[in-house]
């Protein structure tokens, strides 16, 4: 029963919950230059079992609708990005029409250097940059979608040491091979 005299405070305006501080920083940069972006709007199935169930999927971090371009960030050390590179190769094989750029730790470092923010690079990169709790988007008005709880883009991958995202239990992917149907899985909207 709800106590009418003590109503819950209104929920704060919500933006995307970024998995990593470097993603939040990139969102701030895109906002600054008035580039529209969406955070993890689509999940692409990239591996299926014999029953046709998706067992591995990939959700690029950003989508820039004006440029029809996906951006995937990784601030892991180079030796740890092998798995992400493999997923990206697989994505490109299965969805050749998709335009996606992988933004490596070095790229992010150079970006911070360009903007004179190299001093905070360590706090935004790799393991220290992980965001374990919810974060507000830096400029929610620029986000096209307001997203609720996000599915991990490492669905069905399990975890491995050094991954910049918090370890998550493998999620049972729900969709089927491209060419059949529903190859692209839309992220649930907040409240859906």
């Amino acid at each position: 029963m709800t106590d009418a005299l003590a109503p819950d405070p209104p929920p704060p305006a919500r933006g995307p919950t970024f998995a990593h501080a470097s993603e939040a920083e990139l969102a701030r940069i895109l906002d600054f230059y008035a580039v529209r972006w969406e955070y993890e709007p689509h999940t692409f199935a990239i591996l299926w079992n014999l029953d046709g169930d998706v067992v591995e999927s990939f959700a690029p971090d950003f989508y820039l609708p004006e440029f029809d371009l996906y951006l995937e960030m990784t601030t892991l050390k180079q030796r740890l990005v092998r798995k992400k590179n493999r997923k990206l190769r697989r994505l490109r094989e299965l969805y050749p029409d998709i335009r996606i750029k992988l933004f490596y730790a070095r790229d992010f470092r150079m970006l911070m250097l360009k903007y004179g923010k190299l001093g905070i690079i360590e706090s935004l990169s790799g393991t220290p940059g992980q965001m374990l709790g919810p974060r507000q988007a830096p400029a929610p008005e620029a986000a096209v979608l307001e997203l609720g709880a996000l599915e991990p883009d490492e669905a069905a991958d399990g975890s491995e040491p050094g991954l910049e995202r918090p370890a998550s239990p493998p999620a049972r992917a729900r969709r089927r091979r491209p060419g059949r149907r529903d190859a692209v899985v839309d992220k649930p909207l907040a409240g859906s």
């Binding site: 906002d31 600054f32 230059y33 008035a34 004006e66 970006l111 190299l118």
Partner: protein, 188 residues
């Protein structure tokens, strides 16, 4: 950050010599003069980095040209700007409606600033709008913008000189060089 008394001491490697710059700027000027023959051209330079390039390029163009200058704020310039939006610090002095406009840039890397500028300038209804850059660093591109005139395509290294700075220094070097990494990794 402080530069060495002789700023060339902070340079790891000369990437593009003064002579190479002069030759290429001359070639760009000749191409632009031919492409815009019979028309009047407005060069819009984006401060501050493109100043030396603009000065040399305009003098290598043989058709009538007008010039104008713009400056936009850069991300990270101040704490306020980091959480704000790009601002026009210096706007055009004259209308460019129905003018043939060529944006003159020192370097295009992410393409974010240029993308903003192009959208802004298109809103001013020019007859045409093209882009000329001395340096293009495609490896760093975030947003793709067609560039009509490119002086040099360079690899992904942090360069200074001939207008390009680090912490507002090194713009006066007559060449384009790679900054020694210890210059920007040393604590200020």
């Amino acid at each position: 950050m402080s530069a060495a008394p002789d700023p060339t001491q902070d340079i790891d490697e000369v990437l593009i010599t003064e002579e190479q710059i002069a030759r290429t700027v001359g070639e760009l000027g000749a191409r632009i003069s031919a492409d815009y023959a019979g028309r009047e051209l407005t060069l819009v330079s984006v401060l501050k980095g493109s100043l030396p390039f603009m000065a040399d390029l305009m003098r290598s163009i043989t058709i009538p040209v007008r010039i104008d200058l713009m400056e936009v704020s850069s991300y990270g310039g101040t704490a306020t700007e980091s959480s704000g939006l790009v601002r026009i610090l210096k706007d055009l002095s004259s209308s460019i409606a129905d003018a043939h406009v060529l944006v003159v840039e020192d370097i295009i890397d992410t393409g974010l600033t240029l993308n903003y500028l192009v959208r802004y300038l298109r809103g001013k209804s020019p007859a045409s709008l093209r882009i000329c850059t001395l340096l293009d660093k495609p490896a760093r591109r975030l947003v793709d913008i067609p560039v009509d005139y490119v002086g040099f395509t360079i690899e992904d290294r942090f360069v200074v000189g001939y207008g390009l700075d680090y912490g507002e220094l090194y713009r006066n070097l007559r060449f384009v060089g790679v900054l020694r990494p210890d210059v920007y990794t040393e604590p200020a």
